[in-house]
């Protein structure tokens, strides 16, 4: 792993990865206990991707996220309380309970939102970079998407434009090996990075389980994108520990338990980084355990808060349809 000079940065990266894992463990329990409406898609296993990238961004930089988006949301600075409230459809959620897990947006931290259409946010990310260029802002946008989304035509349309116009956008392909319930090699012909290279976009492949490698690469690319040298493409090789969603439990027909065990035991991004922190003398085992416990307690408090929190009043149902009309249905009453 590449060495970084700032102890605080390392500890924050570790903390953020554990916060994501802890958030997901709690979200999964809420589903299994039938306390959460609907389904959700776990980010567990991919933490080094979101954290390595978002730690290279400023709060004014933007991201677009995916249906598997809790990790991006936490890594870009969101709070547990509003996130759990959103997952449970409560008024204090980031989107007042109107978006839910698949649409969490936290514009205060530059998160333009998760997206439930696979590949649906690629245009949005590219447009956000277009704004930066048109208005002369120096912010960079990172577009998160999975390997499954590389099959969508929109990606090629917007990468073409981003390359033509040198937009400050980084396309971050989280290759977790599975496109929903199908192995990626069954849906992706040729090389994924070569597709970006065909547009003249500089593309990199990186070990997505190594937070320092992800972070070091992203920092360089972000700095260059700010100077107008973008766009860039990164393929991050990672793994999703859960199924496509929390209800996808019997999945041996598409991937083996041995494979899952191998990734969890031997390539877990949190275990790897934790060992490195101890080895380097950046944190002791005790300090790390204390941090883990503190995060667990934070998450529990946030879950308890969200479970007790209010649902939005039913009068909110026709609010926020339009910006300039408080209640959209009041105009032409029945």
């Amino acid at each position: 792993m590449a060495k970084k000079s700032n102890t605080e940065d390392y500890l924050r990266m570790y903390r953020q990865m554990v916060r994501i894992r802890t958030f997901e463990d709690n979200a999964n329990q809420l589903y299994l206990a039938a306390k959460m409406p609907g389904l959700t898609h776990m980010y567990s296993g991919e933490e080094a991707v979101a954290v390595g990238i978002c730690e290279a961004l400023k709060v004014t930089d933007k991201i677009t996220s995916t249906h598997r988006g809790h990790g991006h949301c936490v890594a870009k600075g969101a709070e547990f309380k509003q996130m759990f409230c959103e997952l449970l459809g409560k008024e204090e959620g980031y989107c007042r309970g109107k978006g839910g897990s698949m649409h969490i947006a936290d514009q205060s931290n530059g998160n333009l939102g998760a997206n439930a259409i696979v590949g649906g946010s690629m245009g949005i990310a590219t447009g956000s970079a277009f704004t930066a260029k048109l208005l002369g802002r120096d912010d960079v946008t990172v577009c998160f998407f999975g390997d499954g989304a590389t099959a969508q035509g929109l990606m090629y349309e917007v990468m073409n434009m981003a390359a033509l116009w040198k937009l400050p956008v980084i396309y971050a392909c989280e290759n977790n090996g599975y496109s929903e319930y199908t192995r990626t090699e069954e849906i992706a012909a040729g090389s994924i990075t070569a597709r970006a290279e065909a547009f003249g976009i500089e593309a990199h492949q990186v070990d997505g389980q190594d937070v320092l490698a992800v972070n070091a690469l992203t920092e360089k690319l972000v700095e260059r994108a700010r100077k107008g040298e973008g766009p860039f493409f990164i393929e991050l090789m990672t793994y999703r520990y859960h199924g496509h969603h929390v209800g996808d439990i019997n999945r041996e027909y598409y991937r083996s338990k041995d494979e899952e065990k191998d990734w969890k035991d031997n390539r877990d991004p949190i275990i790897r980084f934790r060992s490195w922190l101890v080895e380097q003398g950046i944190a002791s085992e005790d300090e790390i355990e204390a941090m883990n416990d503190e995060i667990k307690a934070d998450a529990k408090a946030a879950v308890d808060y969200a479970l007790d929190a209010k649902y939005p009043d039913v009068s909110e149902v026709d609010m926020h349809v339009y910006t300039d009309v408080t209640h959209a249905l009041a105009r032409n009453p029945a």
Partner: protein, 331 residues
């Protein structure tokens, strides 16, 4: 007041708003030097440059999606969709993304973009360049839909659309680009959701959209010679819809025909007729009639194409049936 073409009116509206607000930009295929195939945007790139009049590859979903993200982050894109028929290509970005972002974010994110496109058959362009697809987008909550019926509305509605913080789709009739109408030289903004009573009448209400307003006015001219006084109303925007003005007219005349160039089945005419039936039923002396485009793909041959859209004569025929009581006795 000077007369200018609908095309000039759109051009003026865009130029004025781009001068007023530097976050407004135009994006689409052949919008810059070419000024679009209809030459509506000619001259804008010379004034505003290629950074703000942006030619794209032929990639409608791509530039539509890009515009959504640009709008979410502080600009006001005017997306140029060369033909209304290409709406099918941009539906995900328009209807799943732009329309829902404000709602799904609990009101935190806005998408202030304008999608300007066109409608209208009888240009001998066949089924993929002649459709009037405004009903598709009017169906989706979160989008506003404007339907200018002359150069005046084209300018006033466009300026209002650009200043609106919501996604707005404007349909211009591509056969009306050279039609002239009086347009004021001073600031001209037409509020959304205010229908325009184009002609007063006591006997029957003709509600028309876009170029069908002219069809209704011509029908009214035919009918007045027969002693039938038709009221002609242009809703101007489908979303929001000025139901109150339509209902007041229906209650006054007791007979209504709704005329629109979209397909009649499951369309705008049915929606407006249904609202009048629900809310003015006891004031009606006859069923509300719908006149939309024939429910067939638009044919190429002039002999076939011309019979697929409502005409003044056709509207007059239906108006006479309503006035004679034929509809009631037939039932």
């Amino acid at each position: 007041m000077r007369n200018i073409t609908l095309s000039q009116a759109v051009n003026e509206a865009l130029a004025e708003e781009m001068r007023r607000d530097e976050t407004v930009f135009i994006i689409g295929e052949d919008v810059a030097e070419a000024g679009t195939p209809f030459k509506v945007l000619s001259g804008l790139v010379e004034e505003f440059g290629t950074a703000r009049v942006v030619d794209t590859p032929i990639a409608e979903p791509g530039f539509m999606g890009l515009a959504v993200g640009a709008a979410m982050t502080g600009t006001r894109p005017v997306v140029d969709l060369m033909f209304g028929d290409f709406l099918f290509l941009v539906m995900d970005q328009l209807c799943n993304q732009a329309a829902k972002t404000h709602y799904m974010s609990g009101g935190k994110l806005n998408v202030p973009l304008v999608l300007r496109t066109n409608l209208g058959a009888t240009r001998r362009s066949a089924a993929q360049h002649s459709q009037s697809l405004h009903a598709l987008v009017a169906h989706i909550p979160g989008l506003k839909v404007a339907m200018p019926s002359s150069a005046y509305e084209a300018k006033g509605l466009m300026k209002t659309a650009i200043r609106d913080d919501n996604p707005v789709v404007i349909f211009e009739d591509k056969l009306m680009y050279n039609d002239k109408a009086p347009v004021p030289e001073e600031e001209c903004l037409i509020p959304f959701g205010e229908a325009n009573i184009k002609r007063d009448g006591r006997d029957i209400t003709l509600i028309g959209t876009s170029s069908m307003v002219q069809v209704c006015e011509q029908a009214a001219e035919i009918l007045v010679r027969e002693g039938i006084e038709a009221e002609v109303i242009d809703p101007r925007t489908l979303v929001p819809l000025d139901e109150a003005t339509l209902l007041a007219s229906a209650k006054k005349t007791s007979r209504v025909i709704v005329v629109d160039e979209g397909h009649q089945g499951y369309g705008i005419t049915g929606e407006i007729a249904s609202r009048i039936n629900e809310k003015a039923f006891y004031h009606l002396d006859a069923p509300v009639l719908r006149m939309g485009a024939m429910d067939v793909p638009v044919p190429f041959s002039p002999a076939l194409e011309d019979i697929t859209v409502p005409t003044p004569e056709g509207v007059a025929v239906q108006a006479r049936r309503l006035m004679s009581g034929e509809m009631i006795h037939a039932a």
